[in-house]
């Protein structure tokens, strides 16, 4: 979309992670700003965004004792934010057919905020997955800021994989489950 082009063009380099945990095509996107802050979004190829799905529910309660909505950070150093590893779940999204998808953190870092806007208006996730429909904002550790996206795919690599998927009749070669 136009807005992301301008934004990205200035300061964000998108990297993608493909097929998380070996699950077919559940691609996500990590947009990293030059100040190291990362925005986690769905990639265009994610199943949720295909086939005219509608969203039944978005749940940030990922376990009995942990809800991402309770995440509170304070001060410049963002104390109190939940620390996430790559495979930490951010939320679970259920579509109308009843399929439930888990959205993952993809990177190591401190959770700053999750998008409450999509709770109120789930259509944002479908209409603008790369901007207003973002999932979460994560702050990597300063010393890891350059390496935190190392295992992820660049834009070209991601598009290669996409085109291999569509051109082959079978499922495309699975990339190994990420360290993300």
């Amino acid at each position: 979309s136009g807005i992301i082009q301008c934004f990205v063009h200035r300061c964000i380099s998108p990297t993608s992670v493909s097929d998380i945990k070996g699950k077919n095509c559940e691609d996500q996107c990590v947009l990293q700003h030059s100040n190291r802050i990362c925005v986690i979004t769905l990639a265009e190829s994610h199943p949720i965004l295909q086939n005219g799905n509608t969203i039944k529910s978005i749940n940030y309660q990922i376990s009995a004792g942990c809800s991402r909505l309770q995440n509170k950070v304070s001060g410049k150093s963002k104390r109190g934010g939940q620390f996430l590893t790559e495979l930490a779940p951010l939320c679970r999204i259920t579509c109308t057919e009843g399929v439930e998808y888990t959205i993952y953190s993809c990177i190591r870092g401190r959770l700053l905020e999750v998008n409450e806007g999509i709770l109120e208006r789930p259509e944002l996730l479908l209409e603008k997955p790369s901007t207003e429909g973002y999932i979460a904002v994560i702050l990597p550790k300063l010393e890891e800021s350059k390496t935190v996206t190392n295992g992820l795919l660049s834009r070209e690599e991601y598009e290669n994989i996409l085109s291999k998927r569509t051109s082959s009749t079978q499922q495309g070669p699975k990339t190994e489950p990420e360290p993300c």
Partner: protein, 499 residues
């Protein structure tokens, strides 16, 4: 003048003089704060002290030791001025050959160097010495000489004199309710009215003694636990102390001028110039900066060692500052020249403006302090103009409604681009007015007058929807900001300087 000494001071004065204190140190330990007492010539003070002691009705003291101490002239000052170096050295005492034994025993010849200040308050306070200091390449109109004693000297002298007090009056403690302030971060008051005091060591190393003074209510004598320390003291530092063989010598003189503040307003015409130097990991990412361009000619004219730059807000690298400009103030550190008349300041302003076409400075002036740039920052307003891009094609009528939009309240979460160094919070800001100028199907000019602290870029592109409402919502299309200029910073300070 009559020294304002009290009856109670008499034994103290006598004891201190016997111990070898100079007249001015005696005044210090009597807590005399009257400046004129110290300003008068040393000999006058000395004579008055003698008279004060001799005034005692019951004890007419003609203690020869005391008399000698006070009536000897200060040694003649042969101050050698070595023009090759900046040291000022004083010749040794010409009148004396003191010989003092370690135990403080047989004093063959008395030195008249004060045991406490080592001559600092005897000679280095005189006009003649100050004149020598004035030799250094500073321009100035008033000169203050401040003396601070090294920590070791402070504590030692404190102990000596206080122990002297103890010896004077065993049961009858002192009645002073003030404190002596030494130039020391740790240390302030010492003696407390009417209460017996104890001493305790905290730290004793070769370089310094740090002491705590405790006051015990009701205690009458030093705690037995502390006696060993006191004995140690008496052994290391006899009381009265041994006379110094010679007075101290000035090894170096350093002069420091108070900061001078220069204020003005600056314009920034470049979209590739940061306000402050842009350095990441020790590497400069962008050449030069507003503050360096302004400071360079000032540093050299004022002959200052460094500066601190401060301004009423900041703009991004890619944002121009137009109109009257943004107020700033520059603190020049240790300037060797501080006075400039109006014509010279105008010339300095012209030099800055000639040095680069990226900035311009106006209303340059010397001010007393940093001024009220930052005060009431949220009350102020600022005006901006922006070049807007729209994804959807627009025509003139699509944007006219913005002109009717007044006092638009925004809720802005901390923008992602500054979130790494600012706390995450929501800021409520107001856009007071807007006006537009249509350019083409995907571009128009937007002029805004907003509350200070409003993030304009985020209002335009929405920052992932974290600023609400934003221009994308209002225009129902993706928008982005291509250029931004600051049109005015509505702060009244510094006062304008007529051209």
């Amino acid at each position: 003048m009559m020294l304002p000494l009290k009856e109670n001071d008499r034994p103290i004065v006598k004891k201190l003089l016997e111990a070898g204190c100079c007249a001015r140190c005696v005044l210090r330990f009597c807590f005399l704060e009257v400046q004129s007492a110290y300003r008068q010539p040393y000999e006058d003070t000395a004579k008055e002290l003698l008279a004060f002691i001799n005034d005692e009705e019951t004890n007419v003291t003609k203690d020869s030791a005391v008399q000698d101490q006070l009536t000897k002239d200060p040694p003649s000052k042969k101050i050698k001025l070595d023009t090759a170096k900046t040291d000022v050295q004083a010749e040794g005492d010409s009148a004396l050959v003191p010989t003092v034994t370690e135990e403080g025993g047989a004093r063959l010849v008395k030195s008249d160097v004060c045991v406490v200040c080592l001559g600092v308050l005897q000679e280095f306070c005189d006009e003649a010495y100050a004149t020598k200091v004035c030799f250094f390449p500073f321009h100035y109109y008033n000169l203050y000489l401040f003396y601070s004693f090294s920590p070791l000297l402070c504590y030692v002298q404190f102990i000596i004199t206080t122990l002297s007090y103890l010896k004077i009056s065993k049961g009858d403690w002192l009645h002073y309710d003030q404190g002596i302030q030494y130039q020391s971060k740790v240390w302030t008051h010492l003696l407390i009215q009417g209460r017996p005091c104890c001493f305790a060591f905290l730290d004793c190393s070769e370089k310094s003694l740090i002491l705590w003074l405790n006051s015990f209510e009701g205690a009458h004598a030093p705690n037995f636990v502390l006696l060993p320390f006191l004995l140690f003291f008496f052994r290391k530092f006899p009381c009265p102390p041994t006379r110094p063989a010679s007075k101290c010598v000035a090894q170096d003189v350093q002069c420091l001028h108070v900061s001078v503040f220069v204020a003005g307003r600056y314009n920034k015409f470049s979209r590739t110039l940061p306000q402050t130097p842009w350095v990441i990991d020790g590497e400069r990412r962008m050449e030069s900066s507003v503050e360096e361009l302004i400071a360079a000619p000032l540093l050299s004219s004022f002959r200052a060692k460094g500066f601190n730059f401060s301004s009423s807000g900041r703009e991004d690298v890619d944002v121009r500052t137009l109109g009257n400009g943004r107020p700033f103030a520059l603190e020049l550190l240790n300037p060797h020249r501080a006075r400039f008349n109006k014509a010279e300041i105008r010339q300095l302003q012209e030099t800055i403006n000639q040095s680069s076409d990226k900035i311009r400075v106006r209303d340059l002036q010397i001010v007393n302090a940093m001024g009220h740039m930052k005060e009431g920052e949220e009350d102020k307003t600022k005006s901006y103009s922006a070049l807007i891009w729209t994804q959807k094609a627009i025509d003139k009528d699509d944007i006219t409604f913005l002109e009717e939009t007044k006092e638009l309240k925004l809720a802005q979460k901390t923008p992602l681009r500054v979130l790494h160094r600012r706390p995450l919070t929501v800021r409520e800001r107001v856009i007071h007015t807007m006006s537009t100028r249509f350019l083409d199907a995907h571009h128009f000019h937007l002029v805004l007058r907003t509350q200070a602290g409003t993030y304009i870029k985020e209002f335009v592109h929405g920052d992932f929807g974290r600023t609400k409402p934003n221009l994308c919502d209002l225009l129902k299309t993706d928008t982005d900001i291509l250029e931004l200029d600051v049109e005015s910073v509505d702060v009244d300070w510094p006062p304008p300087v007529p051209e």
